[in-house]
Symmetry: C2
Subunit: 343 residues, 2 copies
Amino acid sequence: MDGQRTEISSLGEFGLIDHLTKNNETRQAGTLLSVGDDAAVIDQFGRQTVITSDMLLEGIHFDLAYTPLKHLGYKAVAVNLSDIYAMNATPTHVTLNIGVSNRFSVEALDELYEGVYAACERYNVDLVGGDTCSSLKGFVISVTAIGEVAPDKYITRSGAKKGDLICVSGDLGAAYMGLQLLEREKRIYMEHPDVQPDLQSRTYTVGRILKPEPRADIVNWLQENGIVPTSMIDVSDGLSSELLHICKQSDKGCVLYEEKIPIHNETREMALEFNIDPTACALSGGEDYELLFTIPQEDYEKITRSEQISVIGYITEAAEGAVLLTKGGNKHKLTAQGWNAFE
Amino acid sequence: MDGQRTEISSLGEFGLIDHLTKNNETRQAGTLLSVGDDAAVIDQFGRQTVITSDMLLEGIHFDLAYTPLKHLGYKAVAVNLSDIYAMNATPTHVTLNIGVSNRFSVEALDELYEGVYAACERYNVDLVGGDTCSSLKGFVISVTAIGEVAPDKYITRSGAKKGDLICVSGDLGAAYMGLQLLEREKRIYMEHPDVQPDLQSRTYTVGRILKPEPRADIVNWLQENGIVPTSMIDVSDGLSSELLHICKQSDKGCVLYEEKIPIHNETREMALEFNIDPTACALSGGEDYELLFTIPQEDYEKITRSEQISVIGYITEAAEGAVLLTKGGNKHKLTAQGWNAFE
């Protein structure tokens, strides 16, 4: 190591991945798309396979104090399927690796697997393998999903064109507010174990963080309505971060209208209660697992037929940058931290 | 959980996997082989894809006190490729998920990736994706490998026939002795930091544990010589455990000749030094990543042409059990613990 030490935090997650994979070589003729999108695409004699993999670590991605194991199993599969759908592909198989310490019982793992099987059933995929090992401490789950896509019909992050409309499914920021609520109720419970957490009135936001659903329905709807997105990504890290991925990889800029960003009423109410800007939740909250995509302007009429899809902006030249137009008429440069509103 | 608590240890690793997957359903018509072999096999319009996934956890599978990160990266890929070769398939792609705490520097991860890339280059596979996340503590690596196999040419654990010859590549037990040596030198170093570990004279066994090579060469040789194994598995948990997998899944028994088990001279010498039975190392040591397979008797002549392959026994009816014939002429029932010689 020659004595030099560069902190991982100095590069950030995406900087680190860029750094580690900058010399990655492709040897297989079938590798159509490698590191850097929601999933990789492999051509196997004309059939195209999509593959993605995600890891969930206890204490980083989930807190078992308020995450039922069944939900965790469901979510571990769901977030990987979301990446497959974001490629315009259909998931078919998953593998599941888990590392557990002896503080977990067989019954606890049964619950986890119940959730895994429920997600497999709901999305018609098969669990075909994996690895079960003991860990010294902490729970680790790693899922790999594979799927198939008609030849060359996969959609990357890099195809957005100037003038394309930016669309997003569902609503944003709810998972983040659900997490804030669960964290608050956990703190209250730690201090006053006799107080029962009140989550009943907040089932939407809590459901969004604990049991996300990948948007298979949106991919199907787009196909049925003959709309082919020019780029697509799933919203796991927040709208800002994902939109910037599309802009960077398409070498484009964008204008995003704050007033067009879809936010659920419960999310707004809770943001108010927590004294957080609802727009900031949508921009930087993450874990919504909605689909963000761009379409040609001529599909505008068609896209308005879906109540599940919002048009939230448009693609510009790269030189114009990535811009948020606020409700007050101000322009903000879009950053991966959602114009630092979280500070 | 209804108050009941079953300890994971009461089921054991394989019992746990059986328990968790006993109700696993197959929905996809393309799923030819699911949980329970070295890898799953998926048919995609006539092309067959093989997929496997393995996780390595710090403190369980490796100790960074004596595991160079470059070797660790190499091994994480190699052990997954070994599972692909054990299906008689050719690996083509891998994904890599890592969880690291901030005690690791970018330079440390560079070393890990150097090893990953070295294995990819050596075995002609592409790294096409994965997930990099921070962990609270400890290093986690999860690799998924996929490969391809000519239609219906994959080899499972369940095809062994009565009278088939049991064959194994290379030699066994060396990785286990390498691990014992590294553990001993670590203890000495902890107590006397000024004493330099002496590993120079033990490069074979130490190399076997730190940098295993999957036996691509054996799969190629078998194909070139027209030998089609009736069953195959890679030796990750020790000869006993793997042979019992073949017997159980083929519903057969076996006779294993102790004197035929291939053991390297260095392994024997070290076993002597450590006061361990060399046969026990081979039976229960694990991590050798050799190929264990069965062939029809008529291929005996052919198989003897390879100096890399030993015939170590034969397959019998299930009722005859799994038996080890010792050098002294005694019969022992083969158990996954290697007739408990490790106690």
